[in-house]
Amino acid sequence: MTPKTEIELAEIIRMANAPLNIRGGGTRPIGHAVAGEVLSTSAMTGIQLYEPGALTLVVRTGTALADIETALDGEGQRLAFEPMDHRGLLGTSGTPTIGGVVAANVSGPRRIQVGAMRDFLLGVRFVDGTGQVINNGGRVMKNVTGYDLVKLMAGSYGTLGVLTEVSLKVLPKSQATGVLLFEGLSDADAVAALSGALSSPYEVTGAAHLQKGMDGTPVTMIRLEGFENSVAYRGGELTKLLADFGTPAFETDAAKTAEGWAYVRDVTPFHGRAGDVWRISVKPSDAPGIVANLPGCEALYDWGGGLIWVLAPPGAAVEGASLRAHLAASGGHATLIRGQGAHVFQPQPAPLAQLHDGLRSKFDPKGILNPGLMGQTE
């Protein structure tokens, strides 16, 4: 089913009494499989409002991400949270939609400085599991009027409602980009270097470490963005600050830096390779130790180490339960983005799981919106 309007969508949900498989462009099949008729938002498209001087965009959720990026590009602006494209990693095809980006709270390398997708979401319209249209938030930057269901909807994977329209904060593109590149660092040194950069006043907008860079050797990447002189100045200061880690190259070519960060954002080194893919969120300084305990796996660190992408090739399976037990104790969580496992999302401790289930039962009392996708008890 592919409703063209919010009213049609609401009617479908109101009448439904069997599970629905909610999707946008279908490029991010994350979570447990949902047996149910497909309900797609992809026909509800169009930019409703774009005010570059107010940095705001209101758009229907089926709108292709590429169309939004084109419109913003025309005004020298962008979605600053840098959403990843999952197609290469998950082997999917199709057209990513903004609704999918919101539903999965998809953020890229710049998250470390500007915030996650959810931090750029100003307002939502959605249809809940009874077919009721709900509005929350708005299109202004600061809004504390009532509960913030906007954040709740981001990353709820269509299990609390079907998004129909979202308001987003956008930001100007940077004039220039510069990337410091260190080669050959160990994971621990790399995370220490990234931490040094992020703890400086130089406004780092990307901090990643690849165990295998494009040429196969480890590379540590630190991104600076802004006006050209400022980027050059901060590049020089960081080079001095991080002298203990060697002398970095400083890449300022626009095409090369964009390619390098797309490589990190989309986890390109794992594309087309067999094995499970885990996404682990931790305290950055814990990251190298966690990776060291996953023998045979390959890691890509983003967010200064706070986000670890792990490829477990066949024969090097990650023991999900013990990894998660460790994370539950030390702080963090792991998501099985690709592969088969009992739990895609890290199970929540009992009191939190109860709140999850409670919210589910209020927003979707019939239990028809992507039931089981997030693995709640139902």
């Binding site: 202004v140 600061k142 509960y147 954040k151 990353g155």
Partner: protein, 477 residues
């Protein structure tokens, strides 16, 4: 403004309640003498006052849990209180409620500069969070005007902002984790030193829930390295329209100032008379501040001043020293005090789309004449968060009611042009009965359903946020 009538059955059980609370708390942590409970009769919205049944000052998460368990069992409403600086009446008690103050929970639990976070007990004041890390060159970004006094717990409850959130975001963008106690005493941990906690975004839901979902006792907050420097520029215009366009052009140009503050003529005149900051007598005044190294600041300010010049300002003042910077900020920082010198005032907090600034200011001017009350505007222009200050005389019968009616009209106007009732102060009791202007019944119903999940008996701060008639059946259940 109405509050629910106290429940006589609860009032009658006061002795039992006090004795049970004294079983789990030290004696000096349970305040029940009417002479002492009066200290908790209001917050910074002083127009409304009511002493609580009693006030408790627990000193640990466990004590908070013990208190809530007792109140839950006895069906007694609980009003959580940070430092009591709410301008929206968020901490206003009812006669049959227990004030749960977190003032004794003010320790720093952990600072971690490598991972850039601090973990504190929630009664710690906003400014003293920065105080705990500034020796190492770090700071906590959200900076509400009340930051000297306001508690992190209150910041989380109201999702507080400040002057610098154009660049750094508000509380919700800087909050990484909480320890929270639910009304039945259950302790939950959400998030922590890692980014983007798993599962639903409970942290996002709790932040800004006005103490209605749980009592936050500990918080993990993002800390940032201080910028190398900051410098403001002052720009005066003879029209609000032009000032509004200038703000929009600065934002479009790709400079991201850390703050863009706006004052209108009534406010400029009042602050000049009070603080003598040397502001030009003009229709609209902007203070734009940027950060970075000296050279970076120069470059950004050049761009900003070029834009300003293209709009023919009547004054364009660059700061050449720390003293000059301080002077530029002096008037803005004394604006509230200056207005208070003239008369009593009520501070509003609506947000509007930036493009609507000239229209909204013109309408406020017209309404000011209709109501016969003066109003000055001072606000965060970069994000459209307005703070109209309506002057009235609290001793003149009917003036408060007139002022409230005027304020309500301004907030309805904010909603009408695509904005909202409150940008950073919260709904509390102040905007509670206006919620139906912003939200349809279904929008409010699902928000109340969220409270049903966290607090099924509606005992936590129950008479706030939702219009009383809308929440009546739930509160009575």
């Amino acid at each position: 403004m109405q509050m629910p009538k106290p429940d006589p059955a609860i009032l009658a059980r006061k002795p039992e309640l006090i004795s049970r609370l004294q079983e789990v708390l030290p004696r000096d942590s349970v305040i029940h003498d009417p002479a002492q409970t009066r200290a908790y009769e209001c917050d910074a919205l002083t127009a409304y006052k009511c002493p609580p049944l009693c006030a408790v000052l627990p000193a640990s998460t466990q004590e908070v849990s013990d208190v809530l368990k007792i109140c839950h069992q006895m069906g007694v409403p609980v009003v959580p209180r940070g430092s009591g600086t709410s301008l929206a009446g968020g901490a206003l008690p009812t006669e049959d409620s227990v004030i749960l103050g977190i003032a004794r929970l003010n320790d720093v639990l952990e600072t971690d500069y490598d991972n850039r976070f601090i973990r504190v007990q929630s009664g710690r004041t906003n400014l003293s969070v920065t105080g705990a890390v500034e020796e190492e060159g770090f700071f906590y970004a959200p900076d509400p005007s009340s930051q000297l006094a306001c508690a992190i717990a209150g910041n989380i409850a109201m999702n507080s902002g400040g002057a610098h959130c154009l660049k750094y975001g508000v509380t919700t963008n800087n909050l990484m984790g909480v320890t929270m106690v639910l009304m039945d005493g259950t302790i939950v941990e959400i998030g922590g030193a890692h980014l983007d906690a798993g599962g639903y975004d409970m942290l996002g839901l709790i932040c800004g829930s006005e103490g209605q979902l749980g009592v936050v006792t500990e918080a993990t907050l993002r800390i940032l390295r201080k910028p190398e420097g900051a410098r403001p520029v002052l720009i005066g215009f003879d029209s609000n329209e032009v000032a509004g366009t200038c703000v929009s052009d600065i934002i479009k140009a790709g400079v991201l100032p850390v703050a863009i503050e706006f004052m209108d003529r009534p406010c400029i005149r009042a602050t000049e008379a009070f603080a003598k900051a040397g502001y030009p007598d003009c229709e609209a005044l902007l203070i734009v501040e940027v950060e970075g190294s000296d050279a970076e600041i120069d470059e950004q300010l050049e761009t900003i001043m070029a834009i300003a010049r293209s709009h023919n300002p009547i004054e364009l003042r660059e700061s050449n020293s720390a003293e000059e910077s301080a002077k530029i900020w002096l008037g803005r920082k004394s604006a509230f005090g200056a207005m208070g010198q003239i008369n009593d005032y009520m501070c509003l907090d609506g947000t509007i789309p930036v493009s609507q600034l000239p229209h909204v200011l013109r309408r406020i001017g017209e309404m000011s004449k209709e109501f016969g009350l003066d109003v000055g505007n001072v606000f965060h222009a970069g994000d459209g968060n307005m703070h109209p200050l309506i002057l009235f005389d609290a001793n003149k019968p009917g003036d408060l009611e007139l002022c409230e009616a005027f304020g309500a009209e301004i907030l309805k106007l904010c909603v009408e042009v695509g904005g909202c009732l409150t940008g950073e102060h919260g709904v509390g009791i102040e905007k509670r009965d206006l919620m139906s202007h912003q939200y349809e019944p279904a929008d409010l119903e699902i928000q109340m359903a969220v409270k049903d999940v966290f607090d099924p008996k509606w005992l936590l701060n129950p008479a706030k946020v939702f219009p009383l008639d809308v929440s009546r059946t739930r509160r009575a259940a």
